[in-house]
Amino acid sequence: MSQWKLICRVDDIPVLGSRRVVRAQGVAVALFRTADDQVHALLDRCPHKAGPLSQGIVFADAVSCPLHNWSIRFDTGAAKEPDVGSTPRFACKVEGGEVFLDEAELGTLGTELPAPTAGPQGCSHA
């Protein structure tokens, strides 16, 4: 049985926009809201260079990464052709205008994947 955790209201996410969900450990989770108010959740990390997908432009079925414009599909977390790669996808439930994520997935899914780095020490500031 999934243990659903209330995250926010659908209306807290801009239409054709996104919100970042920070968790206890691991890279954040990105929530995306489509034009028809569907909500999708992916690890906030592009399979290409780990760019934050939550900062991309949102379409009906995918988000384009802000760094190099890869398109990542909401239904699978996979990059659209011809690019190859995939980012973890999170189960996401919408009920009564509220958005829920799976507690277990939040705790474990994609936590091993490193955050991107930049700057003189190559350390992460995000």
Binding site: D12, G17, R19, V22, P52, V58, F59, L67, P120, A126
Partner: protein
């Protein structure tokens, strides 16, 4: 539901490409049956020449192995020629009695070599050059025989001759026209080519008419060919005769079916035959608007359009292509396009360097480039081809035209111009770090044919495009293809067939105010567009209808949504505005304090005389802006960025004008100005030009008697020196002319088109007419800009007015 039946006659490149496109978008619509006259699966016919030359093998040029047909459930009949089609019962009959019913029929029978109607044409050893069988015959003959004659000194004939020579035969090319490749080259280039091929060992009979081919039996009338006889009575020994005197669309079957043919099977813009709506035709057998194309790119374009109609999507029109020519003989570079012969009303610019083996001719009609013929150095071929296609005025670059695009400041690929001479590890695309080996591998492994495909798969030449010529050369040598998909009109993106200009026009004429409105009016194919069209349309709306159309932040790139520049780790950079590059102790103190307080890791002085704070966390952005208390520098936006100035007459002993004040005034008047791309100004106080005004979108240089105005410079990927635009007397004039030029660019530029590309497209003369010659128009433009900018908010402080969604700065906690 029972599937419909699609039958394809012909198993060549154009037809199979159409099936591939169809399977991509509608994999389950049809049961597909394919008839191929040859016993091979689809292969790359263009690469027969390298196979003949021993540079590749048959296996390497197979495009779709038998397993591909199996995988897609395609019933494949190899080695079966279709002899009859019953259009009433909709049944295809092959020679051996095989039949297939169809709901839709695709005819892709390609072309047939033209065989000279001379006595002896049916002798053993007389062949055409069309398929694998012909190629194998040539390879085998070369092992046992000595003398080869190729009839026809066109593209195919020369490739055949070169291959046979490399296989050890003594080859003579018989060509009836006065010079080689007369349909692709002018006489000078044709003769240079001949000389170069002679040096390699080919012999030529130019202007010779073939009278007969003579056999070794039955008084010369039978057996194997042994000689060729010319009309003047001379004879040459010939153990092998290759007919390469041109091709004809294969229309015999179509004609027997009662389909209208006129130099090909006549099709409309959807590739449907005009006789029978159930029947489509693509490839060399199809005549579209009177032209049967023989090059890959146009045929693939046809295939794509045809597939969408077969898939019943009913979208896309094929409107024809312009084509260019290259010869696939390793070591010989030639290129031609358009009307390279010139003629009445045409002028020619010619560069001839016989010692170096370089010849270039450009044909100009009026103010436009209409043709080009290059020999020995073809790296600029694609650039000339683009100019010919775009049909834009070349008056302003006429003096530099001959020296090529690279002369206008290309960077990023170490000055390489010959791809063949590069090592696999050499970098071709400096923007995306793609080397030659990677590109060649992708072309081979993924079966790429067009420039667009290479860009998509490897990103090479997908950014600045300055290495396009090199990538095309690689395509040429690796895939053998012609390489550029060349629709006459370029669609804005894959979501539509409309061009940038058509979108701009529709927004203006139909008074469209929302993105959805544009999608509806122009029948967009995607519900929310893509990352190319959505930001473009958002810009077109707000620039065309200021104060009416609503900005949509979700249609902007992240930088313009967060009002800061995203960095590779997801942090942001902050560049506050420093008017004219001047700052104060108080500003610097506040910046220093913010750096300490928010632990900002890097502080850097920019090229635009400002300070860049790098590595700011998104959560801190609003507070950093607030603490610094300086206006947004818009360093993240397609908008006015910096106005670079020198100190000018206030301090400088050389200064003639107060350039700092002029710069500050320009910046205060035009900041917050969104544009098709980023915009940079510079103002120098004297001709020493310390502010580098010569490479800015607008550069102002003070002289003793006033100001000189320069436009459309660029210091980026290609260094472009700005054009002198006008000599002005007063600061007010500088303001008005600059504002008017900017507004013209804002209204007419295409999204992501810098001023240099805008001015290149419309021509400097046009811009002068609008700004310099039309005083009332100029004033009106300047007023329009002031109206648009009046009351524009500073997004760093007026969040609500600037529609900044501040929720983005606060992450949700799980």
């Amino acid at each position: 539901m029972k599937k419909m039946k699609l039958v394809m006659i012909g198993n060549g490149m154009a037809g199979v490409r159409t099936l591939e496109e169809l399977l991509k978008i509608s994999p389950d619509l049809y049961d597909i049956t394919v008839f191929g006259a040859e016993p091979h699966p689809n292969y790359n016919r263009i690469l027969l020449s390298p196979v003949l030359a021993g540079e590749q093998t048959i296996d390497e040029i197979i495009l779709n192995p038998l397993s591909w047909y199996e995988e897609h459930g395609i019933q494949l009949h190899l080695g079966k020629t279709v002899v009859k089609v019953d259009r009433t019962k909709r049944i295809v009959h092959a020679e051996d009695g095989t039949t297939a019913e169809y709901d839709r029929l695709l005819i892709a029978t390609g072309s047939t070599p033209f065989i000279l109607p001379v006595p002896g044409k049916d002798l053993e050893g007389v062949i055409a050059y069309r398929d694998i069988a012909d190629t194998n015959t040539m390879i085998e003959t070369a092992k046992t025989h000595q003398h080869a004659v190729v009839i026809g000194g066109g593209l195919l004939g020369l490739e055949a001759a070169n291959g046979l020579m490399l296989r050890g035969m003594q080859v003579t090319v018989v060509h009836v026209a006065p010079w080689l490749m007369e349909r692709q080259l002018d006489d000078v280039a044709g003769k240079l080519l001949q000389k170069s091929l002679e040096e390699r060992g080919l012999k030529f009979e130019i202007g010779a008419h073939t009278a007969a081919l003579i056999g070794d039996k039955d008084d010369g009338k039978a057996g194997r060919v042994m000689a060729i006889q010319f009309k003047d009575g001379r004879e040459l020994p010939a153990d092998l005769v290759v007919m390469a005197a041109g091709i004809r669309p294969s229309t015999a079957l179509a004609e027997s079916m009662g389909l209208h043919c006129n130099r090909g099977i006549v099709v409309n813009d959807t590739l449907q035959t005009i006789t029978d709506p159930r029947i489509y035709s693509v490839g060399e057998c199809a005549a579209h608007r009177g032209i049967a194309y023989g090059l890959v790119a146009p045929l693939f374009e046809q295939g794509k359009v045809c597939a969408t109609h077969l898939a019943q999507f009913g979208i896309g029109r094929y409107t024809g292509s312009q084509t260019s020519t290259k010869l696939k003989v390793t070591g010989i570079d030639l290129f031609s396009a358009g009307n390279f012969m010139g003629g009445k009303d045409c002028e020619e610019i010619v560069l001839s360097d016989p010692m170096a083996g370089v010849y270039k001719k450009l044909v100009i009609e009026g103010d436009k480039l209409v043709g080009a013929c290059l020999y020995g150095d073809t790296v600029d071929g694609s650039w000339y081809f683009k100019l010919i296609r775009d049909g834009r005025s070349v008056n302003d670059i006429r003096d530099k035209l001959m020296f090529g695009e690279s002369n206008i400041g290309d960077v990023g690929h170490e000055g390489h111009s010959k791809a063949a001479a590069m090592a696999d590890s050499d970098e071709v695309c400096g923007c995306n770090g793609v080397n030659k080996g990677t590109i060649c591998k992708a072309i081979k492994d993924k079966g790429l044919f067009t420039l667009e495909e290479v860009r998509k798969h490897t990103k090479a030449s997908a950014s600045c495009g300055s290495c396009t010529g090199l990538v095309e050369q690689l395509l040429m040598f690796t895939a053998g293809g012609d390489y550029s998909a060349t629709p006459k009109k370029k669609a804005l993106c894959g979501c539509t067939d409309a061009s940038h200009q058509e979108v701009r026009d529709a927004i203006k004429e139909q008074h469209l105010l929302t993105i959805d409105g544009v999608y509806k009016a122009l029948a967009w194919r995607t519900p929310n567009g893509c990352s190319s069209c959505r930001p473009a349309i958002n810009y077109y709306l707000i620039s065309t209808w200021p104060k009416e159309a609503q900005d949509d932040p979700q249609s902007r790139f992240i930088n313009e949504r967060a009002h800061a520049n995203i960095q590779k780790d997801g942090t942001y950079s902050v560049i506050p505005r420093m008017w004219g590059g001047e700052t104060t102790a108080s500003e610097l103190r506040r910046i220093a304090d913010a750096v300490d307080k928010y632990k900002i890791p890097t502080v850097k002085v920019t090229g635009g005389q400002r300070i860049d704070l790098l590595g700011v966390k998104k959560e801190d952005l609003v507070n950093v802006w607030k603490d610094i208390g300086m206006p947004s520098g818009h360093a993240y936006a397609k908008a006015l960025r910096t106005v670079k100035t020198c100190v000018g007459s206030e301090w400088c002993r050389m200064g003639t004008q107060d350039s700092t004040q002029m710069g500050k005034d320009l910046e205060r008047a035009m900041w917050r100005m969104y544009a098709p791309h980023k915009v940079k100004f510079a103002v120098s106080g004297c001709p020493r030009n310390c502010a580098e005004a010569g490479i800015k979108d607008v550069g102002i240089i003070g002289v003793d008697s006033g100001w000189e105005m320069y436009v459309a410079g660029n210091g980026g990927i290609k260094t472009e020196v700005a054009h002198f635009f006008a000599k002005l007397k007063t600061a007010e004039e500088v303001m008005e002319y600059t504002g008017a030029f900017m507004q013209l660019y804002r209204l007419e530029g295409w999204y992501l088109e810098r001023t240099v590309h805008y001015v290149n497209r419309v021509g400097l003369d046009y811009v002068k007419k609008r700004i310099l010659d039309d005083a009332a128009g100029r004033k009106a433009l300047w007023e329009q800009l002031q109206f648009a900018l009046d009351g524009e908010p500073d997004p760093w402080f007026d969040h609500a007015d600037a529609k900044v969604d501040v929720r983005q700065f606060k992450p949700v906690n799980a």
